[in-house]
């Protein structure tokens, strides 16, 4: 069964303190791995998609990486506005649906 596990569940950082969020997955052939950001009361906002091991994507203070078993979302020198829940999702080959992990709630203190 395809599965996505995210850790930690919650992470509190000081402004400027870099860290990484983990997304471990098992899927019968990976079509794509997706990272979303979700703010309270809003729908998920697309950040990145990764398709093959070794691939990396960057956007401002965020960098996503992918291996055959997991993905990391690295956040460098975060700011309070980076506080949100970060969701990881995978899509299997031949499938139209994507499966979401439970998310990591990130809180950045000024």
């Amino acid at each position: 069964e395809d599965q996505v596990t995210q850790s930690p569940e919650a992470l509190r950082l000081q402004e400027g303190e870099s860290s990484s969020l983990n997304c471990s997955y098992t899927v019968s052939g990976l079509r794509g791995l997706f990272w979303y950001r979700q703010d309270p009361g809003k729908g998920p906002e697309f950040l990145f998609t990764l398709y093959s091991a070794g691939e990396e994507k960057e956007k401002e203070r965020l960098k996503a990486t992918l291996t055959k078993k997991e993905s990391f979302l690295h956040i460098t020198a975060p700011k309070p506005e980076d506080s949100a829940t970060y969701l990881c999702a995978v899509q299997a080959l031949g499938a139209s649906k994507i499966i979401f992990g439970s998310g990591t709630r990130l809180s950045i203190r000024p």
Binding site: F34, T49, S96, K97, S102
Partner: protein
Amino acid sequence: SAVISQKPSRDICQRGTSLTIQCQVDSQVTMMFWYRQQPGQSLTLIATANQGSEATYESGFVIDKFPISRPNLTFSTLTVSNMSPEDSSIYLCSVGQSGGKNIQYFGAGTRLSVL
């Protein structure tokens, strides 16, 4: 990316009633999806709605409880029928991007409370 509008944004309903949620997209899309997000939880797919065919429901979700319409390539509705407090949740519409990238874009969601 597509602009997705959901209505209503929130509602409070009585037990036993039904609510229809609308999802409007600013461009034609082949695939639309409906998700449920229970408080503090992640997203669970309810069904996939393709224009011109019956919706495909995920395990644990049935058409009698969550009927879906997809009359054209820019619009879909999800009805939550015979509601109970356990249906209190956020319901989200998403659309799939065409062209092979398979990215899904989401509406802001409908926050439903059932008393």
